[in-house]
């Protein structure tokens, strides 16, 4: 019975996430459209509301091109690796009290492990495509993920120290006593580092160097077409959602809000996640792209030292209080 229930939850989560991915693209196109003084999708459905569905159908029926000299098995597996790694992370996210598929004690570590696995997909896609642009994109992604994964991990050590747990639900509960019920203020340095790292981790502007369409002609996904190309972007949007969820859980008090909502427990969680999604999109519309060495400079010379300082400060503070 438990297995059946888990399967039902799994299916519900899958459906919700797929809908989220579809409509996150719509959300992005509309917001950027209005920021750039244009309308965004307007043709399919009312105000273009059915555009994501149309895009999905179109992607599904587009020709699936595989380059002749590509490493076929790896080329086919790469987008699946990205998608699976990102979707697996969803299992441990607590959307509200008790609304979690797997409430494990090492939730935060599990998410890190899974999100770094997604970079394998990108690297393998770059290598297997047998294209120089893709190869450079894959290499960029590898170096980028390694450096920003470190700063991201370190930025959350402060949260772990304060909450005394790696369980995501417990981290949310632990924030109850903090100012505004969030770790945002005491962990402002950690949040700053995490926020920048999450942009880099999800290959978003200004850190979209692995794809960099004007430099590497879409980089690791240059040779991908149709649904395989779409899968990479599904993974990217799920990645955005996962990272926004971690930021919400670790710094903004998760599902807790200024007042309780009886009808939809994850309301505050969803609102906070979409606040981050909006920031992702806003930044994309505003900022140019970093150069590669500048990106590495930022990661290694600014974010990692800052995150280390944050750990020391938090540890000292914790020792003083206790």
């Amino acid at each position: 019975m438990n297995i059946l229930l888990t399967l039902v939850w799994l299916l519900i989560l899958f459906a919700v996430v797929m809908l989220h991915v579809a409509y996150a693209t719509y959300f992005e196109r509309k917001i950027i459209g209005h920021m750039q003084v244009r309308l965004g999708p307007m043709r399919v459905g009312w105000h273009g509301l059915l555009q994501p569905i149309a895009d999905g159908i179109k992607s599904f029926f587009k020709e699936d091109i595989i380059p002749e000299n590509a490493d076929k098995p790896t080329f086919l597996a790469a987008p699946i690796i990205c998608l699976v790694a990102m979707m697996t992370s969803l299992a441990v996210l607590p959307f509200a009290k008790g609304w979690v598929l797997a409430d494990i004690d090492i939730g935060l570590l599990f998410i890190f492990a899974m999100s770094s696995l997604a970079s394998y997909g990108v690297v393998l896609a770059g290598w297997a495509s047998n294209s120089k642009y893709s190869f450079l994109g894959g290499l960029r992604s590898m170096a980028q993920v390694i450096s920003y994964e470190i700063s991201m991990g370190l930025s959350l050590v402060g949260v772990m120290l304060m909450a005394g747990s790696l369980n995501l639900s417990e981290i949310v509960e632990a924030q109850g006593d903090s100012f505004l019920g969030m770790y945002l203020m005491p962990q402002c340095i950690g949040f700053f580092v995490f926020f920048i790292s999450m942009l880099a981790e999800t290959n978003r502007v200004p850190f979209d160097l692995p794809e960099a369409e004007t430099e590497l002609v879409s980089g690791y996904c240059t040779e991908y077409s149709g649904m395989r190309y779409a899968i990479f972007f599904m993974a990217e949007y799920i990645g955005m959602m996962v990272m926004a969820s971690i930021a919400t859980i670790c710094f903004l008090g998760g599902w807790n809000g200024p007042f309780a909502v009886p009808f939809f427990p994850p309301l505050w969680f969803v609102l906070k996640v979409y606040l981050f999604m909006f920031l992702f999109i806003w930044i994309r519309a505003t900022l140019p792209r970093y150069r590669y060495d500048q990106l590495m400079d930022l990661g290694w010379k600014l974010l990692i030292p800052l995150a280390l300082v944050n750990i020391v400060l938090t540890a000292c503070l914790k020792a003083l209080i206790s």
Partner: protein, 408 residues
């Protein structure tokens, strides 16, 4: 039993040169603007060698112009730098007028100055849009197109076309400006400076933009001169050379404007020069509108370059004898002199020069176009060496090249 010969494994030793990576960037590449191909030798992402290749358009304008009368070849010139077509038209007309000794009425000179500067705005807006897009700033791209659209509408009002104009004529302009055009242009001039500030707010205050442009693609004044750069690329390196000031033509000696200069010679300096040039263009157009004198729009000594009588020409057009109007007269008249002349004008991208050798015929014996884009692409090899792939993209953008006038 013989013992097997021991096989020694050959371990390859990295010798540096063998580790290089060659990349053919373009001709189908979003940042190589048109059909530029750049052959790159890379060490990681660092450019060891950069060889720009032009020649994928196969246009042959110069040869084509040698087989056409001077007036017929005018329509080729707006296909050179199609981003600033009207400025090319003006440049060609000025060159032919100097060769043939044709005078231009003052009103036509003012109008040509207006359209030349409008072309500069159009060109700089497209440059800013694509340059920003190359560096990843997409919003600026769309904002610039918003204002460029107004200018294209104005061009359409002026001459009926939005890209291939052929509005200036040898000895004047094709037709007079309308009051609607002047009013709309005035409205644009009132609004446009605030829009330039909007672009600058998006870009100049952005730390990432500054990191991508300051100190990147640096050329000293001497290097820029040695490479033959002109326009904002040269002035960004601090060399005060602008044909509008130094060899003025049309109404430029009658208006007051400044030539913006940079000092660092980097991408940012070139960017700032062009942004300031947009302000100066607004100033020039405003003065031209204010001072626009009445009078004819075509010179008295160039009567054969316009339709002598519109009614017969239209009738003849219906009888498939259109050529007796414009083109036949040019062929018949014997006003051509022998000799050679090089005349340059300041188009948005730099010095556009036309060199004619005339043997007294109604078409040039030889014609050569000194196009700024071709020279600027040549400079790319020197600028990009030792920099990163991302800088190459920023450099191509900052040089503001159009392939239409590179492969002539």
């Amino acid at each position: 039993m013989t013992r097997p010969i021991k096989q020694h494994l050959e371990i390859p030793v990295a010798d540096g040169a063998g580790e290089r990576y060659s990349l053919r960037m373009g001709p189908q590449h979003p940042a190589t603007h048109g059909v530029l191909r750049v052959d790159l030798e890379l060490d990681g992402e660092t450019i060891i060698e950069c060889i720009p290749q032009v020649g994928y358009l196969h246009r042959g304008f110069e040869k084509l112009a040698e087989n056409k009368t001077y007036a017929q070849a005018l329509i080729l010139t707006d296909r050179l730098d199609y981003i600033a077509a009207m400025a090319n038209n003006v440049g060609y007309c000025v060159a032919v007028e100097r060769l043939l000794g044709i005078s231009v009425p003052l009103r036509a000179q003012y109008i040509r100055t207006i359209v030349g500067e409008m072309s500069r705005l159009c060109s700089h807006l497209l440059w800013l849009a694509t340059h920003a897009l190359d560096i990843g700033a997409m919003t600026v791209f769309l904002y610039c197109f918003r204002e460029r659209e107004i200018l294209l509408d104005l061009f359409e009002e002026l001459c009926g076309a939005r890209l291939t104009f052929s509005y200036p004529r040898i000895g004047g302009v094709r037709q007079d400006v309308t009051s609607y055009f002047v009013d709309e242009l005035q409205r644009f001039l009132d609004m446009f400076p605030s829009k330039i500030e909007e672009y600058e707010t998006l870009i100049d205050t952005n730390r990432i933009w500054l990191k991508r442009t300051v100190g990147v693609g640096t050329l000293t004044g001497e290097e820029a001169l040695a490479l033959g750069l002109t326009g904002a690329c040269l002035r960004g390196s601090g060399v005060d050379y602008d044909i509008r000031k130094h060899q003025p033509y049309d109404a430029y000696p009658l208006v007051d404007f400044e030539v913006p200069l940079g000092s660092d010679g980097d991408i940012y300096a070139r960017y700032r020069c062009r942004m300031e040039e947009m302000h100066q263009s607004v100033r020039i157009i405003q003065q031209c509108i204010d001072q626009l004198p009445p009078g004819p729009i075509i010179g008295p000594d160039a009567p054969d370059l316009v339709m002598p009588n519109k009614v017969p020409a239209r009738i003849e057009a219906g009888t498939n004898e259109y050529g007796t109007g414009l083109i036949k007269l040019i062929r018949d008249r014997n006003l051509y002199i022998s000799g050679d002349v090089y005349v340059a004008t300041e188009v948005p991208k730099g010095e556009l020069g036309f060199y004619f050798i005339s043997d007294g015929n109604n078409r040039p014996y030889r014609m050569h176009i000194r196009s700024p884009s071709f020279i600027h692409i040549g400079a790319l090899a020197a600028i990009a060496k030792g920099e990163l792939i991302a800088d190459l993209i920023a450099n191509i953008g900052s040089l503001d090249v159009v392939l239409g006038e590179s492969d002539r």
